[in-house]
Symmetry: C2
Subunit: 310 residues, 2 copies
């Protein structure tokens, strides 16, 4: 509806944050296979080096430029500096596509959280992508580059439940940012997309499981999840097709359709079907989740007592 | 469906942030008229004093306790301190209902924003309420108080457009927080609600108009808006009826129904009708907004040139 020609990354400069592992790396490999120049950004130098070796292994042409940049992305300055560093490798030009896969989640009970868990939740779920998006939008507008900005939210950007009071706000915030940018960046011909992956079996998932409450794990157990490669493929197909809200699994698609609001649509007919299924299915799911939470009450009281909360 | 008996604030302690003006003050007056004890929190002492006079004017009984507390609410510590101060006036017990009306918006073009505009957007739109909600949830759980937490988002917590890239993320984040809390706080019998007001003709609205881009104003001009009193009344009716997502005008109700996702529903049948209207109406609205944005391109380029952006 909004974009007619399929987007093709061949020969373009694709900038991927969180590109040393998980979704970011899988996506970097995918666009490298399609002939893109790829810049990956992450904190850990050793992981970046290993990732570059994987990129070299799928090189399609000697002209392709693969580079890695070690930067923290949790603040405005260094997010802008990372983008600038990657631009310098391409004649000072801003990348054609900026895809923000960086992020982390630390599921916990609210009562176990300290102030810092909450602020870090917003930094690692929102700012770690927002600062890059802001820097990219400004630079693209400045250069007149009709580029692409792709944010990565989560199924938890459409809904939420126990355990995610520091993460869902950040992932919802990204959705709000994407919609504001989608509207505003039309002024410059810049496209905004946002991807909502479900559980992904990545190093990040192993990390978040360390703090995840048992009840949260139980509720999630119905989510089949995607591998990093499946998620990367879904993201890229969505971007190629010009979808504003991109999903890669049925459950999240049901949530997408039933929280569509004013989001630009790509397949209105299919979304009506999804919306209808969600109208019946989601309340049943919600009720079963509520039941699980209520059934957990007593065990939770014991847990709090043991921790000396009262 | 989820709550059978109407909630009644009579004799309860209702704690309202942003209670010295606008929605917060209108709500304070409303619950005072219904016989509640009211604590209002805001920064400016002189405004609090004036507000207390208005509360005294609607006093129903000599037993009602009306107090005001001057605190900044933009950080965790002082938000918790404000709640503690108000609790001390009631035998050290946490309030029965905590309603967070504090907040501010500063609409701007993204390209005109500095780092600080973005971080302040999140503080004034999200943290100014989230810190109070976190403190209240912990204290209610600790005391076994089956209280109420009511957040105040915005129509811009359901959707967004040009000018709101610092505000919508914050208002979306509140929605995510409300949904996570709604699920988690079931463990303690605490209810969570969230109100999504449209434009409200309040001092805050006059303030945001100072920076609002013309295109943003044009797009908003179809929104009829509510007075602070109308909005306060809608909020209270929603809380009394136990609605999780509360709206007070038709447009926002359409967005509520079409972004309902997994939010607990109060009137499923009506929401199906709203969802259907939204299915047809919202894309038409979105298209007209997109057209307005695109038509503004040239004027915007001139604006940027004049500002020396390029």
């Amino acid at each position: 509806m909004f974009f007619k020609k399929k987007w093709n990354p061949r020969g373009l400069h694709v900038y991927i944050t969180g590109g040393s592992q998980g979704l970011g790396l899988a996506l970097a490999i995918l666009v490298a296979k399609k002939g893109a120049h790829v810049s990956i950004v992450a904190r850990t130098q050793s992981k970046l080096e290993k990732a570059l070796i994987e990129l070299e292994a799928v090189r399609q042409s000697p002209d392709q430029i693969f580079r890695s940049y070690s930067f923290a992305l949790d603040n405005a300055e260094s997010s802008a500096a990372a983008l600038k560093a990657a631009s310098e490798g391409h004649g000072g030009q801003v990348p054609d596509a900026v895809i923000t896969c960086a992020g982390a989640s630390k599921p916990m009970f609210l009562l176990d959280m300290e102030e810092q868990d909450l602020t870090q939740g917003m930094i690692n779920g929102y700012w770690v992508q927002a600062w890059t998006a802001f820097a990219a939008a400004k630079q693209m507008a400045r250069e007149g580059k009709k580029g692409k900005i792709v944010l990565v939210s989560s199924t938890l950007g459409f809904m939420s439940f126990v355990g995610y009071s520091s993460y869902s706000p950040a992932k919802h915030a990204l959705r709000g940012l994407a919609e504001a940018l989608h509207s505003e960046l039309m002024l410059y011909g810049i496209d905004t997309h946002i991807f909502f992956p479900p559980t992904m079996y990545t190093p990040g998932f192993d990390e978040e499981n360390k703090t995840k409450p048992a009840i949260t794990r139980t509720i999630e157990s119905t989510d089949e999840g995607l591998t990093a490669e499946q998620a990367a493929s879904a993201l890229l197909i969505g971007v190629e097709n010009g979808e504003a809200h991109i999903t890669g699994d049925l459950i999240t698609s049901l949530f997408r359709a039933s929280t569509r609001g004013a989001a630009p649509r790509s397949n209105a007919a299919l979304d009506v079907v999804y919306d209808f299924i969600a109208l019946i299915g989601v309340p049943i799911w919600r009720r079963s989740v509520d039941k699980q939470v209520l059934a957990h009450r007593e065990e939770h009281q014991q847990y709090l007592q043991k921790k000396g909360f009262f």
